[in-house]
């Protein structure tokens, strides 16, 4: 991989047994989950999930298939209402918020099985991310009043600017559904970024990408964090990606957190190794 070896981030404890990067510690965490849990009928999908993410942290959520990682994302974005526990987004309890309100409050996400507006153009997809940041309303649009032209112009410029992160400006008028797989994943990230989040959730952003695409993606995730000064939480199976860009990592198995720490700590943790590889035979 082309990524230079990073200095490992030092993680420090914050209230309620969670950890965040040392540099973010003078500000409260952007996200804090306390004893979060959800049951589907009799099945407990996630239980006692505790996690904090620093303002500018790139955090990872890993675990074997079916561990409940995407369910955590669905809880954070309120696709599912938690059965137990609290989610604090920038110190505010999201209990009564809907998916839409959570997005407005600052969480944006991508999806494991890509969910683009596939019949719309790339540019329109990004403009939909900008939806709540475009100020004109229905009537100005229907009658093409000056507000419409002004609003569309600003939206177009902003969309192009965001697309330039991944060098996708030349694809602006392409139908999103006809993009190659990797480009669809990147477009999803751009669309999420367009909503101006303070926390970006990426669900397997590197799935289906080749190693060079993955390397480029890693650089871009770091670049996004640095430029926008936001926190990123990602689910990923590509361990090289997770271990090289994530600062704090949370390992989930059967809906429970089994380990938390820096990449080095996680890699050395026998519990994690067992969860991934199974128990080693004695003798």
């Amino acid at each position: 991989m082309a990524m230079p070896k990073r200095e490992p981030t030092k993680l420090v404890p914050v209230p309620s047994t969670n950890i965040i990067p040392e540099r973010d510690v003078d500000k409260s965490p952007i996200l804090e989950c306390r004893h979060l849990g959800i049951d589907f009928g009799g099945l407990t999908a996630v239980n006692d999930f505790n996690m904090a993410i620093g303002r500018t942290e790139i955090a990872g959520l890993i675990g074997p298939n079916g561990a409940g990682k995407t369910t955590v994302f669905n809880l954070l974005t309120k696709v599912y209402q938690p059965t137990r526990g609290t989610i604090l987004l920038d110190g505010v309890d999201t209990h009564s918020m809907s998916t839409v309100q959570v997005n407005k409050a600052g969480i944006a996400r991508t999806f494991q099985n890509i969910r683009l507006f596939s019949n719309l153009s790339v540019e329109d997809n990004v403009k939909l991310g900008l939806h709540n940041h475009i100020s004109y309303g229905l009537w100005q649009g229907l009658f093409r009043l000056p507000g419409y032209w002004q609003g569309e112009k600003v939206a177009h410029e902003r969309a192009m600017e965001l697309l330039s992160i991944f060098d996708m400006e030349n694809l602006a008028s392409t139908k999103a559904g006809s993009l190659p797989y990797g480009a669809q994943r990147r477009l999803e990230i751009v669309r999420a970024l367009a909503t101006n989040p303070s926390l970006l959730l990426l669900d397997e952003p590197a799935a289906g990408m080749n190693p060079s695409e993955t390397a480029e993606l890693m650089e871009n995730i770091v670049k996004i964090r640095d430029t926008f000064q936001i926190a990123v939480l990602l689910i990923e199976h590509d361990m090289s990606l997770v271990m090289s860009i994530c600062e704090g990592i949370c390992v989930l198995n059967f809906g429970q957190i089994i380990a938390k720490g820096t990449p080095d700590e996680i890699q050395a943790d026998p519990v994690v190794i067992e969860a991934y590889l199974g128990k080693q035979k004695e003798g």
Binding site: F40, T70, N74, V79, F111
Partner: protein, 294 residues
């Protein structure tokens, strides 16, 4: 009091017919996850077949019913094979529009074949009425037959789905088609069988419905069809006891609405019930909630 009981009995009688039709909707929805809009028109075809068998060819009524069941079974399977099977993976909007097309096809085909003028369905259930409460309350033979047939069908289907191999295959398919296929179940055959059973029941329902409302026209099936769908949703779509319960309740509501509120608004009230049910409990009385996978 007698009026109330009479209406209740009429409601149960009509509701039994709705329940039989609703079973067809609910089984198909449970397995193929589609709203078979043409189901109501299969009823109409069944009624016509029985009508011609009895009136023109002088077959005994039971033979007429059997013939109608046979024709409808084949019709149901052919519809499934030609119109719905190619659309298994298509969006639900496309499937629903196709089903509406099939419904229209049957109605207009019937109109061309058999004309649009009214046909009086012969009443072969004109036996003596039962007298209860010193003759104040009369229960017609049609009512007795409706209820008995409905209960028998309901019990038979419950036995079929829980005890027979094909029935279990149906339940497996309604849970998870992919998994069912991996277990060696032939999904296509199972879906085809479901349509066959549903359509055969529609033929029975058609004859019973005609015994209460004997005017037969090509659009005869659409109203009871839509109402029975309402009943299926009411009871919880996909659930066999739900269809039974929903059918009975809807029949009673309809007769009560007509009797106590207004006959002109009878249908409007039935549809209002549908809307309220869908809003308050979209999964119906006995249905289960389905969670969307993200």
């Amino acid at each position: 009091m007698v009026t109330f009981l009479t209406r209740l009995i009429n409601g149960i009688s009509l509701g039994s017919v709705y329940a039989i039709i609703a079973l067809g909707y609910t089984m198909v929805y449970g397995i193929a996850k589609m709203l078979n809009f043409a189901h109501g028109d299969v009823i109409m075809v069944g009624a016509y077949v029985c009508f011609f068998a009895v009136a023109n060819f002088a077959l005994p009524p039971l033979a007429g019913v059997a013939l109608a069941m046979l024709v409808c079974t084949v019709l149901g399977m052919v519809i499934e094979r030609l119109a719905y099977k190619p659309l298994r993976q298509a969006p639900s909007l496309a499937v629903l529009i196709t089903a509406i097309g099939v419904s229209y096809f049957l109605q207009n085909g019937a109109q061309l074949l058999w004309g649009s003028n009214n046909k009086m369905f012969p009443s072969f259930l004109s036996g003596d009425a039962l007298s209860l409460l010193n003759g104040d309350l009369r229960v017609s033979l049609v009512t007795v037959v409706n209820v008995v047939v409905c209960v028998v069908i309901m019990l038979a289907l419950t036995w079929f789905t829980s005890r027979t191999k094909m029935g279990k295959a149906m339940r497996a398919c309604s849970e998870d088609k992919g998994a069912a296929q991996l277990m060696g179940i032939n999904v296509d055959t199972t879906i085809s069988m479901t349509f066959a059973i549903g359509s055969a029941l529609a033929a029975v329902a058609g004859v019973l419905y005609m015994s209460s409302y004997p005017i037969l026209v090509p659009t005869t099936g659409s109203m009871p069809g839509i109402k029975a769908f309402t009943a299926a949703v009411f009871g919880g779509i996909g659930s066999i006891p739900g269809a039974f319960l929903g059918g009975l309740l809807l029949g009673v509501i309809e007769i009560f609405a007509g009797g106590y509120i207004s006959t002109q608004l009878q249908n409007a009230i039935v549809f209002a019930v549908l809307i309220v049910v869908l809003l308050v409990k979209p999964s119906g009385l006995l249905g289960k909630q389905i969670r969307e996978k993200v």
